[in-house]
Symmetry: C2
Subunit: 270 residues, 2 copies
């Protein structure tokens, strides 16, 4: 088995074919090259709170009035050289964060999340860039939940599970996979940088990215990928998939009807 | 919002109700108390290879003949005091491993995995314990893939992603969540111990459990739980769910039809 689909295979020395290994997984996620996306700049978006202490105090006020705060963050994935890269914001050349934020207490989860993503990353409607998106590519396709982090107290510590004896968490932060469309315009506030960080850079690097972001490779590891080039051709994929229906098998000689299945297995499943 | 369902609520000072926060997640997984399960002992199962070097040499032979090795491991979750615990084997009082193993090259993925789990944990058919399981509880309910780890070379290093330039991994290890039934008999080979390890013990503890097992809290963090007691009552759950249909709301006074929804929100969604 190989990451190279039959159409993109260059070697003639193929590894032995194997049986599929894709049970209990969602269908492959298609990743497009970073170069498919258009990046612009927009007005500065200052931090809502001047300090961590202020932020925690506001959380406390929110909790008293409305209960647990709901926070939504997006993991946007594209690829460079067939390796997944995550789009991440860097603020003041210092800390890293995913696009997203807490949502208002009276917002529907997904609608509130999309509003936050538009505020942060969509081109302003006055920008000429905004015309480049179709309604479909301007939208955010929220695929599935990748992780949940709990804040048990009005403190900075968060955990990827509810610690024992905590029955009323103060905040839950959900990370979702967003399926990026083939093309999209992303506008980044002037005071932030948008970075494409490869998985191998995040992995085992909590010192630089913190415990939540350095675990992104773990959250994503359950998924299957299909890497597409600028022309839309699948040039790599997660090994272990079923014989791909889009691959035409040419029977070169012979072949009774009953044997077709066997030919497919040997020739096309790499 | 709270982890305590209305029926189990003891405090009269409730936190403010909030809107649901359960979009893009699979339905809750029901966790049963550890005490629901019966543990037995069976014959010693020696390691297949005397050393890591031997194991890697056999992997090389497998790869040459059959291609990429497929390995399946099970994350079995139950609870103690409403905190998830993972069942794990310990060998020779030293290293920890999940139940499971590589599957034969000609095995179907799920069937081969279940055979491995039966070999490792099911009571031998000669044991009186085996009669305690029904056909349903003797089976393994493979819920979904939690993670995939790739071995790029015939070496011990594995990664939760395919490193760049690796097109032919030598082994893929898949970790699956198994939904444990209400009761089940598990028989453990004499040379191993079966441990129930809480998530908070695994978290951030790769020194003791290694990179794959210490990340189990991350893999599981996308899921919603329902903790059930020995009587089958839901005594805790992941906060942020919708109003539970099984919870009967008693309208104590008044209430026009149009207001019913509002009453539910205030009284039942904690």
């Amino acid at each position: 088995m190989s990451t190279v689909p039959p159409g993109a295979q260059q070697s003639h020395i193929l590894p032995p074919a194997g049986l599929p290994f894709d049970e209990r997984q969602t269908p492959p996620i298609r990743l497009y090259p970073l170069s498919n996306y258009t990046f612009g700049v927009k007005e500065t978006q200052p931090e809502e709170d001047p300090s961590v202490k202020d932020r925690l105090r506001r959380l406390e006020e929110h909790y008293e009035k409305y209960g647990m705060r709901r926070t939504c963050e997006a993991v946007l994935v594209c690829h460079e050289h067939n390796h997944p890269h995550v789009l991440m914001l860097q603020i003041a050349n210092a800390f890293f964060k995913l696009p997203g934020d807490y949502i208002p207490h009276d917002s529907d989860e997904i609608a509130g999340f999309k509003t936050r993503l538009n505020d942060r990353l969509s081109p302003p409607s006055t920008s000429s860039l905004s015309a480049r998106d179709t309604p479909a590519s301007a939208d955010w396709a929220v695929h599935s939940t990748l992780a949940q982090w709990y804040r048990p107290n009005f403190e900075t510590f968060m955990y990827p599970y509810l610690p024992p004896h905590v029955s009323r968490p103060k905040e839950v932060k959900k990370l979702y996979l967003i399926e990026l469309p083939r093309t999209k315009v992303l506008s980044v506030p002037k005071n932030m940088k948008l970075l494409a960080v490869p998985l191998f850079e995040l992995y085992d690097n909590s010192q630089r990215y913190g415990p939540q972001l350095s675990a992104i490779p773990h959250y994503l590891s359950r998924l299957r990928w299909e890497f597409v080039d600028e022309e839309g051709e699948v040039v790599a994929w997660t090994p272990g998939g079923k014989v791909d229906g889009r691959v035409e098998v040419k029977v070169l000689a012979g072949g009774e009807d009953g044997e077709d299945e066997g030919v497919k297995m040997e020739d096309a499943e790499l």
